[in-house]
């Protein structure tokens, strides 16, 4: 409660600053709402579908950003903030962009968000902050909060004048983090700011978790992630790679090493398969494997040792963001035909609209209302064909989406030489099975208290996909932040 009160006070105090008032009055609301929403500058689709590393979204220019910032009405009750899991002071950073104080805007972002350049790129703003924007109530498109976030973070990085949030004096309390993905990094940043001695342990050889192994360079360049991680290092966060919590170091080991609190952000480790015939043929693989080879191991670079198959006729099964990342990667590795195979219709696709739009522009074929039922090999064990069952939509199911039903007898055969299965992930069992005393759900996730993210082991907090099963970067970051507040309160005996 204390934190929420504080936040509201800060929001209204900042809004009342003289420059903000003057800025609000400098332009009429109807002139602000009359401005058309900015369009993201993008690489040409034909060019970009053949370039592996170049980022598709090129960001906004200063002029575009300042113009877009004018659209924000600087509401007295900024509903956009209720849509932000990490509670960014959205009007405050936007108004700083409007007045040209870009570094100040970046500073505000970093007060509550450890990874603004990442969130500005991969956060589904249309489902978060932008879905709560006042413009929508007037039948206009929301302010492009995500683009502006990215602009401010990029401007600061490129200016070479990176600011660091204030760090409280060291309190000498050691905390450990299992996993260096979005939830762990967010937790680490919040705790470091509060004066804790934070060490993040990562199982892989690179820091960043899904930001490195999962999301491709054309959507989130690794160097952007590295800069944000360096920002956390400057706050005093220590990183240790090649260390698996639950294996290399046990729960007891962490205590022997002096850690008083543990945050588990070990992610959704296991890829789901469909258990259909032929799924173990060569050339059929999980999106996790495909993307890890290409992103983490840089397998498409001829100078690296890790191999990756570069299919010419590639089917990606699924309709989420990971499926879009996979199919667009396949195009960039030289696929002549890159297909999304999805059992529902496009309206039910969980992927971001932007991802679907980009994929279509680049030439991806969308085979919606199709479901694979079997893969057939070439006699040497390599996948050669897939059998697709055509579907139609029936009544809504438990997810609220219309249930796909097979159309009897309607089966199609399509030539493929690579199939990437992207039908979701299940939680990694390494920590749930090795920390005794945790409560584990039937889905294998760690059960936590909703308002604190504390597990049944009272010194263990958890967040991100190990709790949610499969969600987004920003929800994971929100969990990390919430857990940090709660763990800090527990140590300081507040609210007890």
């Amino acid at each position: 409660m204390i934190d929420i009160m504080k936040k509201e006070d800060i929001v209204s105090a900042r809004r009342a600053e003289p420059w903000r008032e003057a800025l609000r009055k400098s332009m009429k609301s109807k002139d602000r709402t009359a401005i058309e929403r900015v369009k993201m500058n993008e690489l040409d689709p034909v060019y970009r579908s053949h370039t592996r590393l170049e980022e598709v979204n090129q960001g906004l220019t200063k002029e575009q950003a300042m113009r877009e910032a004018q659209r924000c009405l600087d509401c007295a009750n900024p509903t956009c903030m209720t849509g932000c899991p990490v509670g960014i002071n959205i009007p405050s950073f936007i108004k700083n962009i409007e007045r040209g104080e870009f570094l100040e805007a970046a500073k505000i972002l970093k007060e509550t968000n450890a990874l603004p350049a990442v969130c500005g790129r991969v956060c589904p703003q249309e489902k978060q902050c932008e879905s709560q924007c006042i413009h929508l109530k007037m039948g206009k498109p929301a302010v492009a909060i995500g683009y502006l976030e990215r602009f401010a973070a990029d401007y600061e990085r490129e200016s070479g004048q990176m600011s660091s949030p204030e760090v409280a004096p060291s309190n000498g309390i050691k905390v450990a983090v299992a996993g260096s993905g979005p939830s762990g990094l967010s937790f680490a940043g919040e705790m470091a700011k509060r004066g804790y001695d934070v060490t993040v342990y990562e199982a892989l050889h690179e820091i960043g978790g899904v930001l490195k192994y999962g999301i491709p360079e054309f959507r989130l360049p690794n160097k952007i992630v590295d800069v944000e991680i360096d920002g956390l290092r400057k706050l005093g966060v220590k990183f240790v790679t090649d260390t698996i919590i639950g294996r290399t170091l046990s729960y007891d080991d962490l205590h022997i090493l002096g850690y008083k609190g543990i945050f588990v952000g070990s992610g959704a480790g296991f890829p789901n398969f469909m258990n259909i015939p032929g799924e173990n043929l060569i050339g059929v693989m999980s999106s996790n494997e495909y993307l890890t080879r290409v992103n983490l191991m840089d397998a498409a670079n001829p100078e690296t040792d890790t191999p990756v198959q570069k299919g010419k006729f590639v089917a990606v099964i699924g309709g989420g963001n990971t499926a879009m990342d996979s199919v667009r990667t396949a195009l960039r590795l030289g696929a002549k035909r890159a297909m999304i195979v999805y059992r529902r219709s496009e309206a039910e696709m969980p992927a971001r609209l932007e991802e679907v739009k980009h994929a279509k522009e680049e030439g991806v074929e969308f085979m919606t209302l199709h479901n694979p039922i079997e893969y057939i090999g070439d006699g040497k064990g390599r996948v050669q064909k897939m059998l697709l069952q055509k579907m139609e939509l029936g009544e809504p199911d438990a997810s609220g989406r219309r249930r796909p039903i097979p159309i009897e007898g309607a089966v199609e055969t399509i030539d493929v030489d690579e199939v990437i299965v992207s039908v979701g992930v299940s939680p990694n069992s390494l920590i749930p099975t090795t920390f005794s005393g945790l409560e584990i759900s039937k889905h294998g996730t760690i059960v936590v208290e909703e308002d604190t993210n504390r597990s049944a082991l009272h010194d263990v907090f958890a967040g991100g996909d190990i709790v949610r099963g499969g969600a987004t970067v920003i929800l994971a970051m929100g969990d990390g932040r919430k857990a940090a507040f709660a763990m800090d309160n527990q140590f300081m005996n507040r609210n007890n």
């Binding site: 480790g269 060569i282 191999p307």
Partner: protein
């Protein structure tokens, strides 16, 4: 970064590396493996831990040069560092008193068999080891096995050492001679397949330790999947040891060739 403490050639293509890894040395159990990466552009490959010394904080790896990554690793000398060593991974071997156990090892599979033989013997099993290779100078770790096992039988394809014949001939000679309660086999997939077919014929419960293609080794990618008892399993987290009679070795052999044309 993990420093190589010592290096010994077992044969032209088989190298024993003792590597500094104090945390892994302390927490590993027989049957566990590590993922190793050599160089910043290196590939992640799984290697079973052959031994560990908690006193010196080292683990022992026995590596056969079969491709780019193993060649790079074996080219490293004492004092040099392996870029990444992570583990221990996989489920440890289930050790219990079975009675008489035959441990059949081939190629570098003999190395990870060593700690299993040690543990099985320690708990009171009568352990008979069958070591097999193409020819005499490819037989490794014979003396270490003799120190730990009740009996060691050597088989070579060309008869240059021990008895001429395949590993299965050696195993079958034991089965025909005395009651065998359990079998462990580690080696090339094709060898494990035939050992498994043999022990199935005699109804002897058998486990095989599978060495499939892996990337992360923690269950994340699924490159290592195999069919066991009709169900897909991940070798890295569900294994690496499985009931050999339930493993689809033909599928495993096929999948091991996934990147042959690319690498």
């Amino acid at each position: 970064m993990n420093k190589i403490v010592s290096k010994e050639y077992f044969s032209e293509n088989v190298v024993k590396l003792v590597v500094e890894a104090p945390l892994i040395a302390r927490s590993r159990k027989p049957g566990n493996f590590v993922i190793v990466r050599t160089g910043e552009k290196g590939e992640r490959i799984p290697l079973t831990i052959a031994n560990a010394d908690t006193g010196t904080g080292t683990i022992t790896l026995v590596v056969q040069t079969t491709g780019t990554s193993t060649r790079k690793l074996c080219a490293l000398n004492p004092g040099e560092n392996i870029t990444d060593v992570v583990g221990p991974l996989g489920k440890p071997t289930h050790i219990e008193k079975f009675g008489t156990v035959v441990c059949a090892g081939g190629g570098v599979g003999v190395a990870p068999l060593l700690p299993i033989v040690e543990a099985l013997h320690k708990i009171g099993n009568r352990v008979i080891v069958v070591l097999a290779a193409r020819t005499k100078n490819l037989i490794i770790l014979e003396q270490q096995m003799r120190d730990l096992a009740d009996e060691v039988i050597i088989m070579t394809d060309d008869g240059s050492y021990g008895t001429k014949g395949l590993v299965t001939n050696g195993v079958e000679s034991v089965i025909q001679r005395e009651k065998v309660d359990f079998c462990v086999t580690i080696g090339p997939a094709i060898m494990m397949k035939f050992v498994s077919l043999l022990t199935k014929k005699y109804n002897i419960p058998t486990i095989a330790s599978l060495n499939t293609i892996m990337v992360d080794g923690t269950g994340m990618c699924g490159a290592c999947r195999v069919t066991v008892g009709g169900k897909t399993k991940f070798v890295c987290v569900d294994g690496p040891e499985f009931d050999a009679h339930e493993v689809n070795f033909d599928e495993m052999l096929m999948r091991l060739g996934a990147y042959k044309d690319i690498q």
